[in-house]
Subunit: 681 residues, 2 copies
């Protein structure tokens, strides 16, 4: 379990338990694909060679998305929303490519994406014995320290070539298994093609997570190394054909996080404590952004992707609140828990992990607010905290470092810190002011932590002073502090650096408390829950999502919604029927200009029963022949409870078809050279 404010920061500390698959449910690891079950349901299942071939073409994007190689020259298919920040950062008031779309006519025109890295799994090794031996019988803080140390060591020794490889130890099945994932990494990723944002986001927030849908949520990137495109002979074959109702589909990607085996106490913690705060805080941020963006076209452009991200997250959280307040949904989860308890009764090796989880969650209630509101938001503050922490941590042995600063983690930390990208001070100030005001609100004005965060200043005054005073927006300044290490950080008079230093100790103390009182007992209890599940249900189980490569199988299919069948596909011509002329249902200019050329009957988006979640965005949707026929970009509204459970009758993955992407490359945003590359010509 990761700390409140640190999702995805340190995957090795994420310990999530195991789920039991029904229908097309499941996010399967490549070494445990349920071929027999699929064979029984579909009359066909892939063999290991098929799986291996697909796996080597699958790409993880460190921005938090999935993707795939689709040509032999490093061309990567993903979603527009996965690269929108890159598009926005390469836009200017004069040349707003987020609005106009972008096509690189030559390799030289391809544009750098700051902070983005593409990764391909090269091996997965079981390191459970080493990790369990290191933890041995220790508990509490000692158990976490022992785990941190062995993980840091395994990751470092597993990938000595830090320029081209990356290693991560991932805890599967709630601490029951530890796997060392090795990746070939490409840290130079460039933008090749993006449609108009309005084509990708047609229907905006109202249509997000809904279907029928008319969205060109696709883009192309290219992986580079040493200034040249990477050779990728293992790419997926491009197939611009329409999907067929009922045909089998595979989604190959990196689902970020699920919580499907939470006990009732963990669900109550979410419903009672976490989600109401999230709902209120994110809604307020949404409102702050909307009003600020309406005040000028520059702000509208500069914060568009931030607002999109906030609205997307908010819709997910609203869906989770709805799911956890739906007695039918929670009843199923409670029944599953009761069944496991009954099946495990009398198994002395299992004991009472439910009680242990309850105790840990009860303890966490005492300091969850302090944990959640220990650090403000904001890119500039993030730079400062990274510099302060890295300076201190690099001086320590690899095994003793704060989460996220081990030798294996530092290269990506450095890339994210030093990559040049625009900073919008007004937006950083807004974000920081908002988060500091939420800290004060939830902690209370008189809480000692509020005094640590604010001193005698107001959130408004402090955010303004720090953002206006810092020079960290300049990459050269960051580079000097990074390379200067502890001495440079100690000597810095930058107000953001001074501020990060002033609140560092408090956050470290909370991390320590979290490790000892929450993470350690929870990991131990969840490992036992995983054991109970394996004993009860055998290999029908799959691990919760961990932003590592998984494969989901399913089929092209609509669903029944309030007594009506929702169709499986939309066609490009439908966009013109749905358009109202008013935001966000206004047509993208290129659609208007090229209307006569666009095939109105070409498949646009479609739905499948595949089981996915955030992090799967951009995943290739692959047919039985291993060809890519689309890129997954969304779930339907019923899938918003997917964090806690999957219902194959109504949960759907939403996909933009290769047919639509090729139609766009041929007739909307003409790029014949890309079509040729995709066709391997």
């Amino acid at each position: 379990m990761s700390r409140a404010s640190r999702a995805f920061l340190f995957l090795a500390s994420v310990s999530l338990p195991v789920s039991i698959a029904k229908a097309d449910e499941g996010m399967w690891t490549f070494d445990a694909f349920p071929a027999a079950k699929m064979q029984a349901d579909y009359g066909w299942a892939p063999d290991q060679a098929w799986l291996d071939k697909v796996r080597t073409a699958a790409v993880r994007l460190t921005g938090g998305c999935s993707a795939s190689f689709v040509s032999d020259a490093g061309l990567i298919l993903t979603n527009h929303h996965c690269v929108a920040t890159c598009v926005e950062q390469n836009s200017t008031a004069e040349n707003n490519i987020l609005k106009t779309g972008f096509t690189a006519r030559t390799r030289e025109e391809e544009k750098m994406c700051a902070g983005q890295q593409a990764e391909v799994v090269t091996s997965i090794r079981d390191v459970t014995p080493q990790v369990k031996a290191a933890i041995a019988n220790s508990t509490g803080e000692a158990a976490v320290k022992a785990r941190t140390a062995i993980v840091a060591q395994l990751e470092k020794s597993g990938c000595p070539d830090t320029a081209k490889t990356r290693c991560q130890v991932v805890s599967l099945y709630g601490g029951g298994q530890y796997k060392l994932y090795s990746y070939r990494k490409y840290s130079d990723v460039r933008l090749v093609w993006a449609p108009e944002a309005q084509a990708a986001q047609f229907g905006g927030d109202p249509d997000n997570f809904n279907f029928p849908r008319y969205s060109m949520d696709a883009s192309f990137l290219r992986a580079y190394e040493d200034g040249r495109p990477v050779a990728t002979p293992q790419h997926l074959e491009w197939s611009a054909r329409a999907p067929v109702d009922g045909e089998a589909t595979f989604v190959v990607g990196n689902p970020g996080s699920t919580q499907r085996m939470f006990t009732s106490e963990q669900l109550a913690f979410q419903r009672e404590l976490v989600l109401p705060i999230t709902l209120a805080a994110f809604s307020e941020l949404r409102g702050r952004l909307i009003s600020a963006m309406e005040s000028s076209p520059e702000k509208e452009r500069e914060a568009a992707e931030t607002l999109g991200g906030v609205e997307n997250s908010l819709k997910v959280y609203i869906g989770r609140v709805k799911a956890l307040n739906d007695p039918a949904f929670t009843g199923k989860l409670a029944a599953a828990e009761a069944d496991l308890k009954a099946t495990s009764a009398g198994n002395a090796a299992i004991g009472n992990p439910w009680g242990d989880v309850a105790k840990a969650m009860s303890t966490y209630r005492n300091f969850y607010i302090a944990d959640r509101f220990s650090l403000p938001s904001g890119d500039l503050f993030g730079y400062a905290m990274t510099l302060v922490r890295a300076a201190a941590e690099k001086g320590k042995p690899n095994a003793d470092r704060f989460p996220g600063y081990s030798d294996s983690a530092l290269p990506l930390v450095e890339k994210r810190l030093l990559d040049e990208r625009p900073i919008y001070p007004w937006l950083d100030q807004l974000t920081m002011e908002w988060s500091l005001s939420k800290s004060r609100e939830y902690l209370g004005a008189d809480d000692p932590q509020t005094r640590i965060l604010l001193g005698k200043e107001s959130p408004e005054g402090l955010a303004a002073r720090l953002v206006n005073g810092t020079t960290l927006a300049d990459p050269a300044v960051r580079k000097a502090l990074w390379e200067g290490g502890q001495a440079a950080v100690d000597a810095s008079k930058d107000p953001m650096i001074l501020y990060a230093k002033s609140i560092d100790a408090n956050d470290r103390a909370i991390q320590k408390r979290f490790d000892a009182e929450v993470d350690a007992p929870l990991t131990a209890a969840q490992a036992k829950l995983a054991d109970a599940r394996f004993a009860a249900y055998g290999d029908t189980a799959y691990p919760d999502a961990t932003f590592t490569l998984r494969v989901s199988y399913g089929k092209v299919a609509g669903w029944m919604e309030r007594g009506k069948m929702v169709p499986t596909t939309t066609v490009l011509g439908g966009t013109f029927d749905r358009a109202t002329g008013a935001v966000p249902f206004d047509l993208p200019p290129a659609f208007i200009a090229n209307r006569s050329k666009i095939d109105p009957k070409a498949t646009y988006d479609f739905v499948t029963t595949n089981d996915i979640i955030g992090g799967n965005s951009g995943s290739p949707v692959v047919d039985r022949q291993g060809r890519v026929i689309g890129a997954a970009f969304d779930g339907n509204i019923n899938s918003l409870g997917g964090n806690y459970g999957y219902d194959g009758s109504i949960n759907r993955t939403v996909v933009v078809s290769t047919a639509a992407v090729q139609e766009a490359l041929e007739n909307i945003y003409p790029a014949p050279h890309l079509v040729a590359e995709l066709k391997g010509k």
Copy 2:
């Protein structure tokens, strides 16, 4: 039960059940004060003469607050936050009296408060037999129509002098009792004195609902009639003494609404459906306001009171979410329900009202979203809807009208419509855009009601077009349409009027459905629940709050918070210790300028165990001798669950003392003529 979007619109349709008092719990009607219980607990209790005397000095403000006469010339004590809108509407960029405070040196300087009316109860008559006879055995829509008709008739015949009196039938005990309240009304209310807003709001949202507190949340109004101050010989005696720990206190005022006898189904409806939407929607509005106000000092001033109201409501809703997610709190409610069920078992006359409530709430789940999002927000839209509805309703018999348009209700409707006050188009546009976007979000982009509300326009475009195009900000335009009636409304080309007409029918259909499927069965069921309670617990019961006059008894007392005793009082000098110089803990300039004159030991604010809720703001806090020693202005943080239940060990009322107000009048905002008037000299 009132419809989702219509709190307080038509009190006669509010049917709320009966609560059982423990400790100092209870919002008692003046004809059922529990003297024996108080005598037993306190060794003293007021007699009827004492109660009658206090009652005649109590004032209800139609803006949603309580107050009291405190001189023989119509001087009214209430809270600053109850008059802040009036202060803000009388402010300009050049003379911002919200910021500087205001003291009328002469009667001529006293300033009109738009829409505000002061009301004093003159009689309360039991009309239960008439109402029950009219309803007879009818159910569903017929029952609601019969009730509406008899209520309209009773109110009209009870108060023939509509210039000076107002009648309201109020349903107590969930439809078990109907009482006809007659009021002497004063529709000309003027502002006499207000401190700097920063003195009233010191500590802002962070300190709201917290204690220790340093707030001068007091103001004076004056009631006028025929251009002259009203003679009020029945006023309360002013006593600027400090409160004594443990002394008995009475709060006399108009608690707005409580839901203490909700069944488990009604609580689930709140927790699962109503509150998450409220939390998200209000938080977003808060954010939109904050960002918009930061863009200019004018907007900062113009929306300050709107934001204050939103933040106050939001804090209440967050408190309610917390209460309903607290197993200890809800456990007590569940135990009370179980006890009532057990005690009522076998009583055939009671039947199964819990099941009836569950059925009604289950039905309401089907159209709650439609109901809640049937009309947009905004003052200009509100004017338009009132004009459209009033024109149609005035042509119908009094008994057949839409809620809120009976003859007895129309005078206040007219006053609120025609009173001159500033309109800020940007703020109306922001509010309307927000509410329309929430309608689309929760209904869905493809819902038929979304099409009725938006047509093919966006929330942004529609709100801009209507607000920019309407002339309803001009009171003369509103007057012409009001007096011109149906013909004038039919002929109007004002876009806001046309829009109100276009969405009227849909909202009326929802009202009809609500009456038939929710209000009627719920009222019948709640009346039976009230019978069950009376049978089980006798007269230890009090009705839920209905924004009618109540008296609460209690005592001056602190409470234990996380193992520490919170003190009972604060002193004026504490303000200087708490000030940080940063908003909202910056000192009001008059406090700085007059620091040497201010008695640092003078009592500022204090807490009592009285049981109050929103609507009680401004209520006089009265001692055993019937003298006013403060004005209630807030509850403590634990009282935020007070909507559903009261816990005498931790729920507290927060009061600004008369001692502090007099110190302010003598040494901070010198007004010797007011001090003399209060002392009766």
